[in-house]
């Protein structure tokens, strides 16, 4: 299932001119790098889990790190690619009101919705930052024998959500006539 998952390319509206356009260009580079890293993380998680089966079933090697590592990789991929997905308007919402509201009112509605999402993501990012600093200072690890450091996934969440909020802010600030 991938209900409502198709990207609507007609709705891509990042700024492309002026200072905002320049900032967006830099952010595009960061987004693309993180998208590649996310793709590699998902592929790596697949390989790790495949190795878990091969190691246990054919080579008789028992280990306990694969599930946690693949969890870290997949959570990292989810948050690291959040801004890239947002730039393509891939985080889906209900757009039913656009069919009933006059275009001028609908533009304001869209802008306010973007602003609300941006405020939430910035706040969430701040809470992730608190979690990250706590995990770093207290040297927190997962409870397993492997004991992986928790600052790793928390840092992906923090920076992923911060970038997402930044991308949303650019989309809120982008003048519609300049948006592409």
């Amino acid at each position: 299932m991938s209900a409502h998952a198709e990207l609507d390319l007609s709705r891509i509206d990042v700024p492309r001119v002026g200072i905002l356009g320049a900032v967006q260009s830099v952010l595009d580079v960061v987004n693309n790098v993180l998208a590649v890293a996310s793709a590699l993380a998902i592929a790596a998680a697949g390989l790790v889990l495949t190795w878990e089966v091969v190691g246990r079933y054919f080579l008789d090697i028992a280990s306990d790190w694969q599930d946690e590592l693949s969890t870290f990789l997949l959570i990292g991929a989810t948050f690291a690619s959040a801004s890239w997905t947002q730039a393509r308007r891939g985080h889906v919402g209900i757009d039913a009101l656009s069919m009933v509201l006059p275009p001028s009112v609908d533009r304001i509605r869209r802008r306010l919705a973007d602003l609300a999402a941006c405020v939430f993501c910035a706040y969430f990012s701040w809470k992730c930052w608190n979690l990250l600093t706590e995990a770093w200072v207290d040297d927190q690890t997962t409870p397993s024998a492997w004991g992986a450091p928790l600052w790793v996934p928390y840092s992906c969440m923090t920076f992923g959500m911060a970038l997402l909020a930044f991308q949303q802010a650019l989309q809120v600030l982008a003048p519609r006539k300049d948006a592409v």
Binding site: H4, A5, S38, A43, S70
Partner: protein, 447 residues
Amino acid sequence: MTTLQLGLLYAGSTVAALFSGIPIAFALGGVATVFMMIFMPAASVDTIAQNVYEELASITLLTIPLFILKGAAIGKSRAGKDLYDALHTWLGRVPGGLGVAVVLACGLFAAMAGSSPATCSAIGSSGIPEMRRRGYSPGFAAGLVAAGGTLGILLPPSIVLILYAVASEQSLGRLFLAGLGPGLLLVALFASYAVFQWRREFKHAQSVAYGGGAHSPILADEHFTMAERMVALPRVLPFLLLLTGVMVALYGGIATPSETAGLGAVMALVLVGIVYRAYKLADLRPIFEGTIGESGMLLMIIGMSLLYSYVMSYLHISQSAAEAIVGLHLSKWLLLTAILLLVVMLGFFLPPVSIILMTAPIILPPLRAAGFDLIWFGVVMAVVMEMGLIHPPVGLNLFVINRIAPDIGLGPVIRGTIPFVLLMAVGVVILSLVPGIAMWLPNAVYK
């Protein structure tokens, strides 16, 4: 404030946030966070990030990106067309065989790719033009593919069933097995309708031809030689082996569901690389772009939906709502009907992931109290949500079909899907009368 007032405020705020156009994930997360700030102890809001992390750090949930990668690898290749072509050559002599081949190809492809839109797109892009070339009416051809595509959320590895397993704390292995019988039931219903409708269109074309009108291509006799049939097989066999290999790994005790997801994704990439030589960056790029876009969006919704459910539970909204439903003392089947109608209505606006995670804490306790098996209900709920994929206003498959065959128009596509919505309703009734269709296999395997 009473729990009832709080619940109404929570529901009202959610509807307002969702309809404002805020992306679903952030609307749910935002509403949950505001309610935490106002109605929960001050320290609780400090835990939102940890809550989301702990909910997402579930190895069952994290099978989703890997199943999506497997689906994207197969969906972006020519596997769909090859599968449909092969089935067409083997079913050429069956009345309406082309339509039956499309339904079977959709079922098999959905089981390999696990995605409804990907199934519609892969089978429809070659199947719809071919059916129209052979004289099938456009609405019938489009409806067949749109409905066949919905099998993706019922047949394993359905992401909807994975989420339901997490939300209802049921065994994923049992749910996957329980989806097979109803999946085959729907394949049989759709294929029967394909034969029935083909006969109607054939007879109509015959009467037109006898009356001196145009000779429709639907009247043409088709025949494939054994050599043509055998030639079609080699490209399809590796993917059928992947399909069975994944099932054997899962149910043969070789791999856990998460390992199966990883193994399936890697095997799909390797197969696509070998069979279609899709190993260059240009080939891999759309596969991975599709995967990170879809899985990132879905996991963000899932993480925030779980935060939303946590707040609902902390404030006793879900428990009170569940108790109120139980207190209505509805008859077993009236309760089921009311809940399924609610799911249908939510399906007008929300994707299945949100419906499951938002409603599970409220609807599952009354269903359990009424004596329903939650594995069975999960499958029935999936069938009902399949309807949401092909009925207006937001039936995703309708729009996928409209994109790959824009000249048909949305109206004929919608009219073409109506018989299939009715067939799914018939399927739900049959599953209610004969629950063994869903439960026989999991009960036999997990004794």
